[in-house]
């Protein structure tokens, strides 16, 4: 009896191109090396007729009501390609530019400014369970994702996300998608700042300088940080995806109100941020993570989170192994300023640097 391991051997995604018709599979283009234990959960709902008056003790019929796919994608030592794929589809707005002086390097900016107000972009995923058993899951969308970096011996960033698919599954045959070879994102070279001034309308193009921030009156808190976490949720109501007239599978995810939080745990210095909580001071935030240089172009793998405007939701002080730390939970606000990129600034900008030419195109 063969044992099937509880892991997909390979997971391919259509990162560069999005589905033009929701639920219609397109070719995948790259492999994501994700955490084990992500075998897709194909959810099926059935009802029987034993609740009907006049029925027998055992039902005589059963009906299929619905089906869907849940695919959690998580990656320790997250690579820029994975972050761009998940954040790009999650926020459903990603713009790729060639930074000045770059040739193969690209800067991908994910932002809520200009993101679709109606629907989420979808991609096709393909999982290889074992040789010859390829399952293609079309109509995948990202409901939410969480990016985090912690102080410690292992400072690589990790990404978790919840993705859902429409529920149709077909067999595939791709075997040759390779992982994009790039430097993982980590906190060992990074810069994190909380500003009391505004975002200046342009983020760095080369990801080179972690100690220069794109926000005014920035306080560099990098060495005080014990954890940085960005969380994004589309808050999709999955029951609502079964449209009347839309069959028994998920239909396209219509936009609802998204929500985001930025949680920074740092060594407590003084009551500045507790005062900021009481006063609802408007802050700006930036966290830049720099990796290896892309070829020799002076542009570096990695990513940068910029929150043009945020207020504190909580600023709890607690003990962490004998140290006094404060956990600052920020609520990103919408910044309507329109004198830079993006226009308006919106609520979050995620710059990701690698050599891929397009995402969700």
């Amino acid at each position: 009896m063969a044992t099937n391991l509880n892991r997909i051997r390979k997971l391919y995604v259509s990162a560069a191109s999005r589905e033009s018709t929701y639920g219609t599979a397109i070719a995948t283009d790259s492999m994501l090396k994700v955490d084990a234990g992500v075998i897709t959960n194909r959810e099926v709902g059935v009802v029987s007729n034993n609740d009907l008056v006049g029925g027998t003790e055992e039902p005589t019929e059963q009906f299929l009501t619905n089906q869907s796919v849940a695919l959690p994608i998580a990656q320790a030592r997250v690579k820029p390609h994975t972050l761009a794929t998940i954040a790009g589809y999650g926020i459903s707005n990603i713009t790729t530019t060639t930074p000045s002086g770059g040739s193969t390097a690209r800067k991908h900016q994910v932002s809520t400014a200009g993101s679709s107000a109606s629907t989420l972009h979808s991609f096709t995923a393909e999982g290889i369970l074992k040789s010859g058993v390829n399952q293609v899951y079309p109509g995948m969308f990202v409901d939410g994702f969480n990016f985090s970096v912690n102080r410690g011996a292992n400072q690589f960033a990790s990404l978790t996300s919840s993705c859902y698919g429409c529920g149709t599954v077909s067999s595939g045959s791709d075997n040759s998608r390779s992982e994009i070879d790039e430097d993982p994102i980590g906190g060992s070279t990074s810069g994190i700042a909380i500003g009391t001034g505004v975002y200046d309308g342009a983020t760095q193009d080369g990801n080179a300088d972690v100690s220069t921030f794109d926000i005014a009156s920035a306080t560099d808190i990098t060495t005080q940080v014990t954890s940085f976490e960005y969380a994004y949720q589309n808050n999709v109501d999955r029951d609502f995806l079964y449209q009347v007239g839309g069959g028994k599978i998920y239909n396209i995810a219509e936009k609802t109100a998204r929500s985001q939080t930025v949680t920074i745990t740092k060594l407590w210095q003084d009551d500045t941020y507790r005062t900021g909580l009481y006063n609802q001071t408007e802050y700006s935030l930036q966290a830049r993570f720099k990796g290896a240089q892309i070829v020799s172009e002076g542009i570096y793998y990695g990513c940068c989170f910029t929150i043009p405007k945020a207020v504190l939701q909580s600023a709890d002080v607690s003990d962490d192994g004998g140290r006094l730390v404060e956990t600052l939970t920020f609520l990103p606000l919408w910044d309507a300023t329109a004198t830079g990129t993006p226009n308006p600034f919106g609520s979050v900008l995620i710059d990701i640097f690698n050599t891929q030419t397009a995402y969700a195109g």
Binding site: T95, S100, D200, A202, D209, T341, T355, Q356
Partner: protein, 100 residues
């Protein structure tokens, strides 16, 4: 320094691979030269330059940190001609800072 060099080298060969895994043509096209759109000074030594690539290109804004760009040119990192172009645009801008 030797270590940093080795790392850069490893990355170089790695990124050559990445193009092939992309599903497209596998070739990263050389970008069109930039066309100046507008610019402004953020603070001393820092400018924001808006440009586009080709007449129909999308306008993108980039931050130019003079010291960083000069260092990139000095170290032979990136397209020197394009970086110098960027510096020239900054130098041509009026000196006043934007409204606070």
């Amino acid at each position: 320094m030797a270590k940093a060099k080795a790392k850069a080298k490893a990355t170089k060969s790695g990124s050559g691979e990445s193009g092939r895994g992309h599903g497209g043509s596998g070739v990263t096209a050389a970008p069109l030269p930039p066309l100046f759109v507008m610019g402004r000074k953020i603070r001393d030594g820092e400018y924001a330059i808006a440009f586009k690539r080709g007449e129909d290109g999308e306008t993108q804004t980039e931050k130019v940190i003079i010291a960083t760009v000069e260092e990139r040119i000095k170290n032979g990192q990136g397209n020197a001609e394009e970086l110098q172009w960027l510096l020239d645009q900054c130098m041509d801008l009026p000196e006043e800072a934007p409204d606070a």
